[in-house]
Amino acid sequence: MEAHRCLYCYDAPCTHACPTHIDVPRFIKKIATGNLAGSARAIFDANLLGATCARVCPVQELCEGACVLGAEHKPIMIGRLQRYAMDYAYERDLKLIAVAAATGKSIAVIGSGPAGLSCAGELARRGHSVTIFERRELAGGLSTYGIIALREPLEAALVEANMIERLGVRIEKNAELGRNLDWNDLRARFQAIFLSVGLGTTPAMEIPGEELILDGLLYIEQSKLNDGAMQVGRDVVVIGAGNTAIDCATIAKRLGAEQVTMVYRRTDEEMTAYAHEYEFVKKEGIEFRFLTQPVGVLAENGQVKGLTCVRTDLGPPDASGRRAPQPVNGSEFTICADQIVKAVGQEKPELAARLGLTTEKGFIKVTEEFETSIPEVFAGGDCIRAKNAASTVMAVEDGKLAAIAIHRRIMEQKEGGVHG
C-alpha cells in the first residue's frame, strides 16, 4: 500500500536529501511491483549499509523530510520501506552485489564502523583485496556498540558486517594501531589506507566527583551487549541534550528508572538532538532541566546521591555559534539522583596526533578526495566530521566516496606505473 502511494517523482528530492543518494523512487517502485530483490539491489547500488541506515537515519531531516507529499499529506515512509527491502534480502541471504575481477591491489581499513565497512565493501566490489583492522571484539563500530537496541539490535549490525565480509573483505578483530598493529608495517603492505577510527570517549567535564559519572556511550554499549546485568538507577540524571544523551535517557526509562532527568546548560533552542528525537523522548516521560549546568556530584560512601548544578543565562554566541551559557551566581541547587550519565560529545581522534596528521578543529583534515595530509592515507566518518552533525549515513557516504577516490588513485598507479 505504502509503496503504491509514492508518486515516483522525477529527479526526486528524497534522493537528493539522502547523503548517499539512494534512488528512492526506484527502490520503492520495485517494492510495488513485487521485485524485492531488485529493490534491495537498487539500495545497495548507492549504500551498502542500507539496513543500518533504514533503522537509524534521521529520515525526518533527510529523505522523508524532503518528500513532496510532506507539505499537505504524510510523507512516504521511506525508512520503513527501505527496511522492508533490506530485511527481505537478509532474511533470504540473497547475494545481490556483484564483485569485479581481482585487481591485485590491497587496501587497509582501520575501524569497522559504518565508514569503514562502506569503504571496504565499495573497494571489494571493485575487485580490490581489503583488510579491516578492528580494535574491538565485534565488527560494526557504533552500529554495534553505540546505537540503542530499540533502533538497531546487535544482530542487524553484525549481519551487515558479515555481508561485507562475504564480498571478500577480511576483518581482523582485536587489532589496534599502537597496540598490536604497526603503522609502518601497514604502509608497506597496503597500497592505500583508509582511517575510519571514529571519535574517543566522552570528554571530562572537570567537576568534582566526575569519576562517579558514567560515560554515555559505555552506558549504551552495556545496555546493548548485556542488558540483563545492566544496573539502572531509580533517579537517573543525564547530562547533555544531543542524540546520544536522548538515547541514554531512553534506555534508563525503558530499563526501569522511575525518574529520568536531562540536564542541559542551554535551552531547547540550542540543543543538538533532532526535533523528532526531542518529541519522542518527551512522550517517554523524561523531564528536562534547561539552563542548568552541573558543578559537582553529591555522593556518600562512593554512592551517588545527587547532582549539584547552577542556573545559567545565555550570553553572546560562542565558537559553536550558539549562545554561551553563563552561570548565575548563588543559584546552586541539587537534583536527587542515584545514577548520573554524561553524554556531552566525544573526544577528538587521538590517532591524528600520533600519526602526525593535519587536523581541523581536532578532526582529521582531508581533501575533497578524502585524502589526509599523508599521501595514500584517506579518512572518513566521524573522525573527519569538523562540520555538520555526525551521522551513520554521512559516514557511509564518506566511505563510498573515499573508496571511489582510492580506486581511481590505485588504478592510475597500475596504468601509469608512477609508483608502487
Binding site: 503504491h4 526526486a12 528524497c14 537528493h16 536529501a17 539522502c18 531531516e61 533527510l62
Partner: protein
C-alpha cells in the same frame, strides 16, 4: 431534491439504478435486500438452459494497489432450478410493485424454446424481459449468448421469435465483443425490440500466475477467457452507448437504452445518462462493496442535478450527445496551452519527464535563480531536506512551444495545479473537412501542407 424516477419503455422505477443481470441478482433473498437498500430495479440473473458452474470462477485485475479495477468471470447463467427462479421472481414482484423487475433469459436458438420461456416469465408478473445475447463464455460455446450477439442476423431472428409472443417490454442486451456495436443494435431495432441494453462483458484473460505459470484464476489446472467488467471498461462502454445515441437509425427508432459498464459512482451514472441512457445497471461495484452503494448513487446524482437545476432525469438525458463529433469536424485552429500554478506545484516533476521524454519537450526545470537547468544538477555532496527542498527546480511550460497535448495535465497528481488555458491561435476556425473542400492539395501533399502552415502560421517543431 430532484426526482430520480424513470419510465423506461413503460417500465417504471423510482430511480435509474438497477442491479445488472449477474450474481447480485441471483435470488429472491438478494433482490429483496437490494430493494430494501433502495435499488430502483433488478435484472434477474439470466434464466434458461440448464448449466453447471465451477469454482474459482471470478478473477480480478488489480492495479497500483487498487483492488479489482476489473472483474472477470466464467460463471454461467443461473444454476438454480428454473422453477425456483420463476417462483421467487413472482414473490419479489408482488412484494415490490414500485420497483422494476426484469428477467434476463437465454435459451437454445429455437423458436419453441424462446416462446416457452417468454410465456413463463410473463406469468411471474415481471415488468420486462432482457435477452442475453452477450455472455462471452460457456454459453457461447453452446451457440447462445455472444454467439448470437456477434451475428446481427441471429440477433434479429431470435428477437423476432420473441417479439411474436411478448406482451411486456423486451430489452436486447448487446455484446461488446464485436467491431461495430451499431450493427446488432440495428438488427434489434429491425426485429421490433422495445429497448436496448449494453454492454455485456468482454472476452478476457485476467492474468497468468508467475509462480505456477497457470492461467489466473486456475480452474483445476486450466483457465480460459472470461467476461471482463468493472471500472476499467467504463470508457469503452461510454463510447458504445454514445455511438448508439449518435446513430440515426437507432436514435430515430426511439428505443430507450439501459447502460452499464463499470458504473461505480453517481458521476459515472451521470455521464452515461448525459450520453443517452435512460436506466443504468450496476454489477461490479456492488460485488465489491455491497448493495449499500445505492445510497450515494442516488444521493450524489440528486445533489448534482439540484446544483445544475435539473428536476428530473429527462431534463438532461442525452444532453451531451450533440457534442459528439468526428475528428474531421474539430476546429484545427483551437489552441490551448498548459499552465502550471507554481503555488500549488509540489515539484514532483512528473510533468517534466513526461513532456521531455514522451511528448513535445516544452517544460523546463527552473532553478531558484530563474535559470533553466538540466535535471540531476545538484552537487553530489549536498544533502538534507533543507538543501533538497530549498534548491529543487520547478517545472515551467514554454507556452510558445506547447502544443497543448494535455499529457502533463493528465499526469499531475495535484488537483487544479495544471490548467489547460485556451489562447487565441490568431487563425480562422477551420475543420479538416472544410480544408478538404477548400484546399484539397494541402490534405494530400506534404509540400502544399508546409506552405499552408507557413501561410497561416502553424509552427510544428
Amino acid at each position: 431534491m430532484a426526482d430520480l424516477s424513470v419510465n423506461f419503455a413503460g417500465i417504471r422505477s423510482p430511480n435509474p439504478f438497477w442491479l445488472a443481470s449477474a450474481p447480485p441478482a441471483n435470488s429472491g433473498a438478494q433482490v429483496h435486500r437490494a430493494f430494501e437498500a433502495g435499488w430502483g430495479g433488478a435484472v434477474w440473473k439470466t434464466i434458461g438452459a440448464p448449466v453447471l458452474n465451477v469454482s474459482n470462477r471470478y478473477g480480478a485485475w488489480h492495479y497500483g494497489g487498487q483492488r479489482m479495477l476489473a472483474i472477470n468471470n466464467v460463471e454461467l447463467i443461473s444454476d438454480r432450478p428454473l422453477e425456483t427462479n420463476l417462483r421467487e421472481i413472482a414473490e419479489v414482484k408482488r412484494a415490490w410493485p414500485d420497483r422494476a423487475v426484469i428477467v434476463s433469459a437465454m435459451v437454445e436458438s429455437k423458436p419453441e424454446a424462446w416462446h416457452d420461456i417468454i410465456g413463463r416469465i410473463e406469468d411471474t408478473g415481471a415488468d420486462g424481459i432482457e435477452l442475453n445475447y452477450g455472455c462471452p463464455h460457456g454459453m457461447s460455446e453452446r451457440g447462445m449468448g455472444s454467439a448470437v450477439g456477434q451475428v446481427p442476423e441471429y440477433c434479429e431472428q431470435i428477437t423476432r421469435w420473441v417479439m411474436e409472443v411478448a406482451r411486456i417490454p423486451v430489452i436486447v442486451k448487446l455484446t461488446p465483443n464485436i467491431t461495430n456495436i451499431v450493427s446488432p443494435a440495428r438488427a434489434a431495432v429491425a426485429a421490433g425490440a422495445t429497448a436496448l441494453s449494453l454492454i455485456n462483458t468482454f472476452n478476457s484473460i485476467v492474468g497468468v500466475d508467475l509462480d505456477s505459470l497457470e492461467i489466473t484464476p486456475n480452474i483445476g489446472g486450466k483457465g480460459g477467457h472470461g467476461g471482463y467488467a468493472g471500472p476499467a471498461v467504463k470508457p469503452i462502454a461510454l463510447n458504445m452507448v454514445a455511438s448508439l445515441g449518435a446513430d440515426d437509425v437507432v436514435r430515430g427508432a426511439g428505443l430507450p437504452i439501459s447502460a452499464m459498464g463499470g458504473i461505480t459512482t453517481w458521476r459515472d451514472a451521470a455521464e452515461f445518462l448525459l450520453l443517452g441512457a435512460t436506466s443504468l445497471q450496476v454489477c461490479t461495484a456492488v460485488m465489491h462493496y455491497g448493495f449499500r452503494i445505492i445510497e450515494d448513487l442516488c444521493d450524489g446524482l440528486a445533489t448534482w442535478m439540484d446544483s445544475k437545476g435539473f428536476t428530473r432525469i429527462s431534463d438532461f438525458a442525452g444532453k451531451t450527445l450533440p457534442r459528439i463529433s468526428d475528428f474531421s469536424n474539430f476546429d484545427l485552429s483551437f489552441r490551448a496551452v498548459a499552465r502550471i500554478d507554481s503555488g500549488k506545484c509540489i515539484k514532483c516533476n512528473l510533468c517534466y519527464v513526461a513532456c521531455n521524454d514522451t511528448a513535445h519537450q516544452c517544460i523546463d526545470l527552473i532553478d531558484t535563480s530563474g535559470r533553466a537547468v538540466p535535471p540531476h544538477s545538484y552537487d553530489e555532496r549536498s544533502n538534507g531536506k533543507q538543501e533538497a527542498v530549498g534548491t529543487r527546480p520547478r517545472p515551467r511550460v514554454r507556452e510558445e512551444d506547447c502544443v497543448g497535448c494535455r499529457l502533463c495535465y493528465n499526469i499531475c497528481p495535484v488537483e487544479g495545479c495544471i490548467d489547460m488555458v485556451e489562447l487565441p491561435s490568431g487563425r480562422d476556425p477551420i475543420t479538416w473537412n472544410e480544408l478538404v473542400k477548400s484546399r484539397r492539395d494541402v490534405t494530400e501533399d506534404w509540400k502544399a501542407m508546409e506552405e499552408y502552415r507557413k501561410k497561416v502560421g502553424i509552427h510544428v517543431h
